[in-house]
């Protein structure tokens, strides 16, 4: 059984069909790309998968179980975590706290334990701190642990977004344009990092990316979206030559990158 499967996923805003009839399948351990020109509906697919929007038609199956109607936090607790294209960190909180918040749902002590400072409080807080620091170490963010998240440099903020999503212990990680605003060296480093993450945490990953070379190099399988519809699906080699994909990207400078990649 696929890890995640969508059937005929559809959502319109007013008259605009942002996503229509999308069928996706993601297998255990796969690294899948989702591409498409600006406004194609990629982020909306993420918002549907994570329960932020409710589909008007179609279904989302997680290991055979429907996610439709669940609240976003319930979906996260089942094993889907995401990053946001427009960074949504907890800006006024420390980097460490940003991570700790994702630990919240799987490392709990009671309200009473918190207010009375029972031993469970000290035990769990110590444990959370240790694990948060480990994760920050892995992401090279340890020196920022006590900084406010909003004061981090842009690239570090993007990395913290991924670290935070990972702290929620997902089986499927959804990355929304993680390389946005990065230079080629940084993008290259990010690619290596994503590959390594996937091994280390045995993750499946669904990646939205505008940087074509990144998707083509990284992903095993790619879905191309245009006007809310899947126009092509397959391995990078096929997608690159697919006439409808080239057409969709025509006029964007990406077309050039595509031809060259």
């Amino acid at each position: 059984m696929a890890l995640l499967e969508t059937k005929d996923l559809t959502l319109a805003f007013g008259g605009l069909a942002a996503v229509s009839g999308v069928n996706l399948t993601i297998g255990e351990g796969e690294l899948v790309g989702l591409i498409g020109p600006n406004g194609a509906g990629k982020t909306t697919v993420f918002n549907l998968l994570t329960g932020i929007y409710r589909p008007q038609r179609g279904d989302i199956l997680w290991q055979g179980r429907s996610l439709v109607g669940l609240r976003p936090f319930q979906i996260t607790q089942l094993g889907l975590a995401r990053t946001f294209q427009n960074i949504r960190l907890f800006g006024e909180l420390t980097v460490l706290d940003n991570i700790a918040i994702s630990f919240h749902w799987h490392s709990r002590y009671s309200l009473l334990g918190a207010v009375l400072r029972l031993p469970s409080y000290y035990r769990h807080e110590g444990e959370m701190r240790r694990r948060a620091e480990e994760l920050l170490e892995l992401f090279g963010l340890k020196q920022y642990a006590q900084e406010k998240a909003k004061n981090l440099p842009y690239g570090e903020q993007r990395r913290l977004e991924i670290a935070r999503a990972l702290a929620a212990r997902p089986r499927l990680l959804l990355l929304d344009e993680p390389a946005a605003g990065m230079n080629p060296q940084e993008t290259q480093a990010l690619m290596d990092f994503i590959r390594w993450l996937r091994q280390e945490f045995s993750l499946s990953i669904l990646l939205i990316e505008h940087d074509m070379s990144m998707v083509m190099n990284l992903c095993e399988r790619i879905y191309a979206l245009d006007y809310g519809q899947v126009i092509a699906e397959g391995p990078p080699g096929e997608i690159r030559r697919h006439p409808r994909v080239i057409e969709a990207y025509l006029g964007e400078e990406v077309a050039l990158a595509l031809a060259g990649a």
Partner: protein
């Protein structure tokens, strides 16, 4: 780690010290009747401000109906002592629980609303509570209830104030408090990180209401008399002003602001009506020149001399 760190012991000693010092001053009659009234008001205001800060400052839910919770606590506690002849402790507990229950009931539907709309709905809620009190003959209608025994003594007031502040502080510095902060910072991201934002909004609202109700019970049993007009939206504004002046998301800020406002009010007492004009002008001036309030979202801690980190609300593994 644990309870018996030197810092906790120091804080504990200071708290006990203040108690006995004031107790002695009261015994000796050095604190005048007038000062005593203001001392009690100060404690009650600290409870009101810190509990509202939990909702507005830490969880980011703009609520303008705190006086409504205070009213419920005051009326229910008074019914228990005056009408049912129950002990004060039970009356306070039931009053606070009733307010907390109202917090759940009003929170569940209204916390879907955001920002100004939530503010309006909670303001409306406070006015409904007041309006109901006017219409219920059992609690004296618009005239209210008179002749309430003065059961709020210094030990009661002090114990309840400390309890409130410590409970709220411990809550905030826990994983549950962090969940509330996450809601304030970015509700969508909080939800996406596995936090049941509805639960935490309602929880913050309920806890805030609980302590608001506690303040109401204490208030009723100090001032002999409660009337619906005591709990109008103007009182909710007063409490909000303390929170904002102290700094949203700063517990020590709320304590300082509640104390400062009570003191300024007491000092300007002789000016009568002019006092409120000055108060209003000061309020506007402070907002223009320091909109983030006295403390911003920082805390005053024993470590203020430490260069950095003292004010951080990081994981308190200490």
């Amino acid at each position: 780690m644990g309870y018996f760190r030197s810092k906790n012991i120091a804080i504990f000693l200071v708290i006990i010290g203040i108690y006995f010092a004031v107790d002695w001053l009261l015994e000796e009659g050095i604190i005048t009747k007038f000062q005593q009234v203001n001392l009690m008001l100060l404690g009650i205001n600290v409870i009101l401000a810190t509990s509202l800060n939990l909702i507005v400052g830490f969880t980011g839910q703009l609520a303008l109906g705190h006086a409504g919770f205070m009213a419920i606590g005051a009326y229910v506690a008074t019914i228990f002592t005056v009408k049912l002849g129950q002990p004060f402790a039970l009356a306070l507990a039931v009053g606070s629980l009733a307010a907390a229950l109202a917090g759940v009931l009003i929170g569940l539907p209204t916390l879907r609303l955001r920002g100004d709309y939530l503010a309006i709905a909670t303001l409306g809620f406070g006015e409904i509570i007041r309006g109901l009190a006017v219409n219920i003959e059992y609690v004296g209608g618009a005239a209210g209830i008179m002749g309430i025994p003065r059961l709020t003594t210094w030990p009661w007031l002090y114990a309840m104030t400390v309890l409130t502040v410590v409970a709220i502080k411990n809550f905030i510095n826990s994983t549950h408090g962090r969940a509330c902060l996450a809601v304030r910072e970015n509700e969508i991201a909080a939800e996406a990180m596995g936090i049941n934002t509805t639960y935490y909004k309602v929880l913050a609202f309920t806890l805030g209401a609980f302590f608001g109700g506690l303040a109401g019970g204490l208030y009723a049993h100090y001032f002999y008399l409660i009337q619906p007009s005591t709990f109008s939206f103007l009182r909710s504004f007063d409490i909000l002003v303390m929170v904002v002046l102290g700094g949203m998301g700063s517990l020590t800020g709320s304590v300082i602001a509640a104390a400062a406002i009570t003191l300024v009010n007491a000092l300007l007492q002789d000016l009568a009506l002019l006092r409120m004009v000055i108060y209003a002008a000061l309020l506007v001036a402070v907002m223009i020149f320091r909109p983030q309030g006295l403390m911003g979202n920082k805390e005053l801690t024993l470590n203020i001399l430490r260069p950095r980190g003292g004010a951080d609300r990081g994981i308190v593994g200490d």
